[in-house]
Symmetry: D2
Subunit: 140 residues, 4 copies
């Protein structure tokens, strides 16, 4: 999807209003119907006590990515808010950059069920699965 596609622009406009995404230096990697990927650098500024990325970093990124995946299937003018999200931590969030890719499991009229995988880009260019969320977004 090119960056002047209406769906990309719709999500980019909302994304630009998320103060936390700016604080985390997050950016949009990919937008498609039912799918959105975001990324943010893993730095000491977003660490937990052992120096790995904080679970809250992975959650924030995955929650926004999954929310935009849901939003991408909602009618123009709708907004998506989180009802609930559950995250499993699979490995320490270590590496250069965190990628969260949200997808839609089931889009309903009001309720959309989403998943997102959280991967950490390693120095050798590979990506390692570090977390996974499953949650519910609501159209408001």
């Amino acid at each position: 999807m090119t960056r002047d596609d209406p769906l990309f622009l719709r999500i980019a406009e909302s994304f630009s209003r998320q103060g936390l995404m700016q604080l985390l230096a997050a950016r949009i990697e990919e937008v498609a119907p039912g799918r959105c990927a975001l990324s943010a650098p893993i730095t000491p500024a977003v660490s937990q006590q052992q120096g790995f990325g904080h679970a809250g970093l992975g959650f924030a990124l995955a929650d926004s990515a999954a929310g935009y995946a849901a939003l991408s299937l909602m009618p123009e003018g709708a907004d998506a808010v989180s009802v609930e999200v559950k995250m499993n931590m699979l490995r320490p969030m270590s590496g250069l950059r965190l990628f969260a890719t949200g997808t839609v499991l089931r889009a309903g009229r009001r309720i959309t069920v989403v998943r997102a995988d959280i991967e950490a880009l390693q120095e050798d260019g590979s990506r390692r699965l570090t977390g996974a969320i499953q949650g519910t977004m609501m159209a408001v």
Copy 2:
């Protein structure tokens, strides 16, 4: 608990190493065996797209508070890491300041089950429940 209590110092030392807590301007409000409260200001810098606090803010605070509640019951030298956390959003995170109070449901040898309530301090001094987590911490 006074601020020179060994348990408080143990948690404060770990807390000071959490880069994300500093980025969010979080502070420790309370430490007791099986219990820890943290707080952070709700500002545009940590907002979602509608101007309310981002779910990731509430999650980060609650995850750390619940982790320290678990750590407070673990043997000296142990560290607590998140295995999984589930958050329900109850109301928009609006107000002056967010408080997350973690408690322990069940402390096992390796696995500790925790909850945390997330409340938003309103201008009139009242606190409103805005979110709730239930999760699992592991001693490492």
Copy 3:
């Protein structure tokens, strides 16, 4: 609440239509606004592979108890269905009888956030916390 109270009757009528509750020999223990407790015997017929009660037994009971806690605050004529439920297992479900007590964290117009604690009655008459759920019910 007496057994001819309208709220009790409303929930008892719905409960009697839940085939699975009958299969599990479950019964209603308590009904109050925002609260419902159910119980069922722990027998070999509902075990997992080690002989303890199956997680599915605890879940089914807690899901129904939490659903009725939500329903008790919904307008007459509404029905409550599960959107999502998360359960933590705290201890093996061993003992004579399992009790699930559902409570409401936040009742919204469409979405109600609930919790339920799952306790196992021991031979000495004490109750041991064996599980806890947190979930979302929707009025339909």
Copy 4:
């Protein structure tokens, strides 16, 4: 995998000890390393109040399927127990038969993270996704 494969036999032996699986008339559909599918009929005996399959039916089946997916990657002699499981309900559980297919997201030494999809077989032979779980199993 044929039914005299050692992995199939290991899981079938454990499955035969799960009283609840027998009560639900469940059977093993598929076993492979990191994967297990179970199924059970949707009948009035396992319904919720509207006549659809009870969430507890889907949960029990998915919890066991995911547990066996985890067990299939654990060393001989280990057993897998549920630490926590979260289920989203995507559609009413209606149809002839429910299939739960568990897969492993990440197998650790003690902790294994799993998912399972819950599908309902329709009269026309198609399968409809009705639920999804994400959870944690532990080797004991």
